[in-house]
């Protein structure tokens, strides 16, 4: 079937199977580089995107579901080539090593800070509980998010 949706502000139209996941379509059919396959079952957060502003695992979302909706990847957070505040904070705090978890971490942080601009440690840890990282030990990521929360 043919679906149309907005991807990071651009209109896209793509043929998909009923069983295709959004992750597969974004990655393999459209060539989006910032959604990653980690576990394929919603445990790790590497595939996260925003669908109409809500945080979703693209590995657990059927592509047909986003027909007519807005999908935002981490690349869509930049405006006119300028990184968003949370993206800059990740850079400044060395919050990425291999970078595989980074898009999901940044999107999770963005959604958290929109809802709750000054999260407690507990709230921050709860929000990040669905995003696994193997390299950084989380501390630089936590520092990055806190640096934005403080501003």
């Amino acid at each position: 079937m043919r679906i149309r949706f907005k991807l990071d502000g651009q209109d896209v139209e793509v043929d998909v199977k009923h069983t295709d996941t959004l992750l597969k379509v974004l990655k393999d059919k459209i060539g989006v580089g910032s959604v990653n396959f980690g576990c394929g079952e919603g445990s790790c957060g590497a595939c996260m995107v925003l669908i109409n502003g809500r945080l979703r695992y693209s590995c657990l979302t059927l592509a047909g579901y986003v027909d007519g909706k807005e999908v935002t990847t981490v690349a869509g957070l930049a405006r006119d080539g300028e990184l968003s505040e949370i993206q800059k904070a990740f850079l400044e705090n060395d919050a990425a090593q291999c970078g595989y978890c980074t898009p999901g971490m940044i999107l999770t942080a963005k959604v958290l800070l929109e809802k709750n601009p000054t999260p407690s440690d507990e709230e921050l840890f709860d929000a990040l509980a669905g995003n696994l990282c193997r390299c950084t030990g989380y501390i630089p990521i936590i520092n990055a998010i806190k640096s934005v929360a403080k501003r």
């Binding site: 060395d94 840890f125 030990g137 501390i139």
Partner: protein, 337 residues
Amino acid sequence: MGVKGEVAKLRGRGIAAICYPTGMNLGGDPSQTVIVAQPDGTFVVNVASVELGQGLRTVLAQIAAEAIGASVEDVEVRFGDTQLAPHDTGTFASRTTHRMGNAIIKAGQEVRQILLDVASKILEVSPQDLEIRNGKIWVRGVPDKSLTVREVASQAQFVYNTPVVGKGHYVKPKSLVDPDTGESDPHSTMAHGCVVADVEVDTETGEVTVLQLVTVYEVGRAINPKLVEGQIIGGAVMGLGAALRETVYPRYPQLTHQTTSFREYVLPTAGDVPKIIYKIVESPTQTGPYGAKGVGEMVANGIAPAIVNAIYDAIGVQITELPITPEKVLKALREKH
């Protein structure tokens, strides 16, 4: 335990020290590289090593820039295609900074010599009278009349028809055991570290909470201290996961019973990370590139032993199998009583 009046939560402190060799040894561990100047006078360092988040792209560029005399922003490290780069044994054994770094120094020195030879033609002086550093070449004592490394590298190709290419290799020579004394020189360098773990053990539930990890690592020379810090923190949390949570067992009665997802193979998440204090100690090794040793694995390896010892300090039982699950702690406590 669990009896009214008894202390349910016990605290303990444990120490673990580590000596860690860099790279495989015994002569079987070569690394090779080729540095090629581009038409615009920048440099590409071709390596078959792999950047996987440890920061190799940055560290190797720093080493190449230092060896050539170029600006670090004019050096690009390319990796990921073994057909386009000479042989490297691999990215493992905490070896790449040390092994490939040494190879790059040799290649960089070849490039430096070519640049000095060409600059000596441009400036009509002997190459011995030239200095090269941080992207500039000048006659010794006359630093205000300098050429840029980029223009020299570019002119070498277009005006002097000189390919600006450097190749380098490194291998730790094989060392045989002396039959009389038993002596040998089995490793190229040793890095060192120490971990102190503070834990709290809940004797009712068996749960272990790591309160704090204090770590110190001797890394030879930290080519990029920020990246070493990243390795240390990441390694600490990986070690914490190995100590308390992560396992592929049980593999019985069938292999299909092993953990197959992150719901069963439980990685630490952001809220599981204790306070981590770290310090880098530098004691440059003669065999290393500018004194550097390997850091990658050592920073994960000392964590679990320190935690095991801290649990021993807290409850008087030595757990000998990882991960230290609440079940194992409770079982050990029961056997003790």
